[in-house]
């Protein structure tokens, strides 16, 4: 049942039956609906959710960091356990505790932001409290809140931030010339006249190396697309699934699917974070010959 906080002028023959609404459409749209504006900037319902998550994370961080003791107790203890297990997991990818500590702030930020966004979309009240607006002649129900990562804009932004950060850190760690040659392999081209007398096969091999470098550029775009679509698809499909299950029988059937959504939210956040860590690690290592 949806709580209508604002009613525009409805028709007199408004048949709002409890299970199926003939006049008001409750579809789950792919894009997030706009519910307000700040100046010229449209504010959508998933943006509101992201701001809510931001508020939660900032308040939690400020509260916990006020009283940090050398011998931890209580909440700080729990957080340290979580932190240690994360660092161990990161070590299995980066193979060095020093690098895990350097990358941990960025990667853990991704993890907690995505995790809280995913989980906030399951809370009751998100997606069901809204208003009825009339668009194109028929009335549609627009919720005030919607899962933050169920919007392609959010996940695309996160993926772009992650991949661009890995490139920037790669340039900082290995230098311009080495990093540039990963994609446009000028070094291989310049080596041909130098070594062609000693090893004639280099005439065949190095152009192939140049070509492979160019294809890597397309690979970077594929990374952004796959990261964003994986997260968006999982969370959005979960929302649609929950809505469909609730439409079948709202008492009891959604419970196992709620559990599934909780687990999926956790796993997807973990995968996003681990993938960003993997890209960071690969881009910042110089390959030893």
């Amino acid at each position: 049942m949806s709580l209508n906080l604002e009613q525009n002028n409805l028709n007199t023959n408004n048949t709002e039956a409890p299970v199926v609404s003939a006049e008001i459409s409750h579809e789950h749209t792919l894009y997030a609906e706009q519910i307000g504006q700040i100046g010229n900037f449209p504010v959508t319902n998933s943006l509101l959710n992201s701001w809510l998550v931001l508020l939660v994370v900032v308040i939690f961080g400020v509260i916990v960091s006020r009283k940090i003791k050398l011998v931890p107790r209580g909440l700080q203890n729990g957080l340290e356990i979580i932190f240690e297990s994360f660092l161990d997991m990161f070590d299995s990818v980066t193979n060095s505790r020093k690098r895990s500590l350097k990358f941990a702030p960025l990667v853990l930020t991704f993890f907690f932001f995505i995790l809280l966004n995913n989980w906030l979309g399951i809370l009751p009240g998100i997606g069901s409290i809204g208003q009825i607006v009339s668009e194109d002649g028929h009335q549609a129900f627009v919720p005030f809140f919607r899962g933050g990562t169920a919007d392609l804009n959010t996940t695309l932004a996160l993926a772009i931030i992650g991949v661009v950060a890995s490139h920037i850190l790669g340039v900082i760690a290995t230098g311009w010339w080495y990093y540039f040659n990963k994609f446009i392999n000028l070094k291989a081209l310049l080596e041909i006249p130098k070594k062609v007398i000693k090893e004639p096969t280099i005439l065949l091999v190095n152009p192939i190396k140049v070509f492979v470098g160019l294809i890597e550029i397309i690979g970077e775009a594929a990374k952004v697309a796959s990261l964003s679509f994986r997260l968006f698809g999982n969370i959005f499909a979960g929302e649609v699934l929950l809505a469909s299950m609730a439409a079948i029988l709202a008492w009891g059937i959604p419970i196992p699917f709620m559990f599934l959504e909780i687990i999926v939210g956790l796993i997807q956040a973990l995968i996003f974070a681990m993938l960003i860590l993997t890209y960071l690690t690969i881009n910042t290592t110089k390959e030893e010959h």
Partner: protein, 66 residues
Amino acid sequence: MLAKALAIGIGAIGPGLGIGLIGAKAMEAIGRNPEAVGKILVPMLLIAAFAEAIAIYALVIAFSIK
């Protein structure tokens, strides 16, 4: 309508097979060495999510077809 159904239907064959294979090999590895469950579980879940992502791409297309 048919396009939506075909998109997700055919698109889920590959990932379904993929996840089944991953699970099968993981079960085999656990059977050989039951103590290694902890080490095998996390990579298996990770790889299964990668395979599932392909099915999710198909699902997104199915959603966006009118």
